[in-house]
């Protein structure tokens, strides 16, 4: 099975060659600009070549790329200011969900995001981005705060799944997901979700019952992880690439099926090659949606959200 690191390998090799040449030019004072420009053009061609033909599975690996920007990275890059707030007021503060108040392009927002860790220690501390019931309860507290102070809500979705452990089960993980969706449905302020990485089933939709749902170009959104689907369908988790194809879990498929409202393009080579540009694209897309949604009355916002999901479903009617 080809991993994303393998398809990136030739690019990474070119990039180190470019960096070496630059270093050399700097140290020796030699003009190597022609060689550098040539290599950069090569890199660009190669990137285009690779990214033109990505499979669903390539996108799964990109969505899970260890260097992919996470919620807090985007929040730092796209907000003028942000203050993180903590705790569910029921005894816990889940590090897998970050939440707070941020300013962005003239809007004051409540922002709730799922947060993975960058190194091993942080990854464990953030539970690999798998929220527990207290995470969703923290999110609900923030949603209610948004309602009370008439602030729009932005959620940044990036989770492999909600936490399936014993602790989470004993504190009502299912109930917390259901309540989180219900709380979002009751809001009368504009709500927008952006799937920035992995949109892992119930763990993701808990934060995505919103007026608008956008996806980054290489994010995924799925009812089941491709590995789990392959285990059921082919009795072989190694057939995850085929399962990824069958599940139609990529942004372009979700848009074709009318399940999301837009795709936010990523820079050439995906978000991790240029987090700044990606953040600005997210910001622009969110601001555009906020402008449209701000025209709606509180009751219209709630009704639009209801109808948005009400109309999803494909079935036939027998005579």
């Amino acid at each position: 099975m080809m991993t994303i690191f393998e398809i990136e390998k030739p690019i990474n090799e070119l990039e180190s060659a470019i960096a070496e040449l630059r270093q050399l030019a700097l140290e020796k004072g030699l003009d190597r600009s022609r060689e550098i420009a040539e290599l950069e053009a090569q890199r660009e061609r190669l990137l285009r070549q690779i990214f033109e033909h990505l499979s669903a599975w390539d996108k799964v690996l990109l969505a899970r790329h260890p260097k992919r920007p996470y919620a807090l990275d985007y929040i730092r890059l796209m907000c003028e200011s942000f203050m993180e707030l903590h705790g569910d007021r029921l005894g816990f503060d889940d590090p897998a969900i970050v939440a707070g108040l941020g300013k962005m392009g003239g809007y004051k927002l409540v922002i709730v995001g799922q947060q993975k860790g960058r190194d091993l220690k942080e990854r464990q501390q953030r539970n690999f981005g798998m929220a527990k019931p207290e995470g969703y309860r923290k999110a609900m507290r923030m949603f209610r705060l948004a309602e009370k102070f008439r602030l729009p809500v932005l959620t940044l979705v990036d989770t492999p799944a909600a936490d399936p452990g014993v602790e989470s089960e004993s504190r009502g993980i299912s109930e917390s997901i259901a309540q989180s969706m219900l709380t979002l449905f009751e809001l009368t302020v504009p709500t927008i979700a952006v799937i920035i990485g992995e949109g892992g089933s119930g763990g993701a939709i808990a934060l995505a019952a919103t007026n608008r749902v956008l996806m980054l170009e290489y994010a995924i959104y799925s009812v089941i992880p491709p590995e789990g689907c392959a285990a059921i369908l082919y009795r072989d988790p190694n057939k995850a690439p085929q399962a990824a194809e069958a599940l139609k879990l990529t942004a372009d498929r979700a848009l074709e099926l009318g399940l999301i409202d837009g795709i936010i393009p990523e820079p050439l080579g995906a978000a991790h090659r240029d987090p700044q540009t990606t953040a600005l694209s997210i910001r622009a897309a969110v601001l555009q949606q906020l402008e449209t949604l701000s025209q709606l009355s509180p009751e219209e916002l709630r009704e639009q959200r209801y109808q948005r999901f009400r109309n999803i479903g494909v079935f036939q009617t027998a005579q």
């Binding site: 399936p164 014993v166 259901a178 993701a204 399940l259 479903g313 036939q316």
Partner: protein, 266 residues
């Protein structure tokens, strides 16, 4: 999820309990609503049996029976699985909905059938649940939902996941009318169904021994879940942790529902 075979057939008038393996006299077993007369194990019921045991005789009127699943993703083996579901369960989909009376109270009722593709929720289940709640909200009727499901239906991909949100929103619509919504978790009530409309009931009942939980055993094992107590993901476990109001033996479900309706209706 643990696979449980249907009650195995022993010739003539005898059946074997799948839990304690004792041989039971079929008329006794049926009279006990398919609860083992030795060990009390609650065998699974089909949706039609459940309706028969729950509502007033001849009061059930089915709604939206004409809805059929499509195959929007062209998913491998889905069409075949649907055909098999019809053949094994005798139903067209994994839920039956309708109106009925229970002890004279007019209700909207939904009953899931595990025999149809594991009671999984795709577009048709999502639509029928949503219409049931919308109809109840419009006519100001209480809702009773008998849940039996492995979760969202993988074969409809993201469309199935969206049914969680859709049904949740519909429950919200009923809540605003102050009409009661009572859920009964039967074996098994899992994942996408548990994490949406099922958990949002005003009062939640469960049958003894029912499997009730978020992640199926396979998913949980993959995620390295260990040190699970013996009763992990049972109705009893959920009851101990405050997620279920009452565990009610099958025979007591009808009178319990009647009492709750009497208490909660205006």
């Amino acid at each position: 999820m643990q696979r449980r075979a249907a009650v195995s057939m022993i010739p003539e008038q005898w059946v074997q309990c799948i839990k304690c393996k004792k041989i039971l006299f079929r008329p006794d077993f049926e009279r006990a609503l398919r609860v083992c007369t030795h060990c009390g194990y609650h065998h699974r019921l089909s949706a039609r049996e459940r309706i028969l045991y729950t509502v007033d005789p001849d009061s059930f009127r089915e709604t939206d029976a004409e809805l059929r699943s499509a195959d929007p993703l062209g998913f491998p083996e889905y069409a075949e699985k649907l055909r098999k579901g019809v053949a094994t369960s005798g139903e067209q989909e994994a839920i039956i909905t309708g109106t009925a009376t229970l002890n004279g109270y007019e209700i909207v009722i939904g009953v899931m059938d595990f025999g149809f593709m594991g009671g999984s929720m795709g577009s048709v289940v999502g639509e029928k649940v949503t219409r049931a709640f919308e109809r109840a909200a419009e006519r100001k009727l209480p809702v009773i939902m008998f849940c039996a499901s492995g979760g969202a239906r993988m074969q409809e991909g993201l469309i199935s996941l969206m049914q969680m949100a859709k049904t949740t929103a519909a429950v919200g619509k009923l809540h605003r009318t102050r009409m009661p919504y009572i859920a009964v978790f039967t074996d098994p009530t899992m994942a996408g169904v548990l994490a949406s409309f099922a958990s949002l009931a005003d009062v939640i009942l469960a049958e003894p021994g029912a499997l009730v939980g978020f992640a199926g055993q396979r998913v949980a094992a993959q995620a390295g879940v260990s040190k699970a107590p013996a009763n992990f993901q049972t109705a009893e476990f959920q009851y101990e942790h405050g997620m279920i109001d009452l565990i009610v033996p099958r025979r007591q479900i009808r009178p319990t529902l009647a009492y709750l309706l009497e208490m909660l209706l205006p």
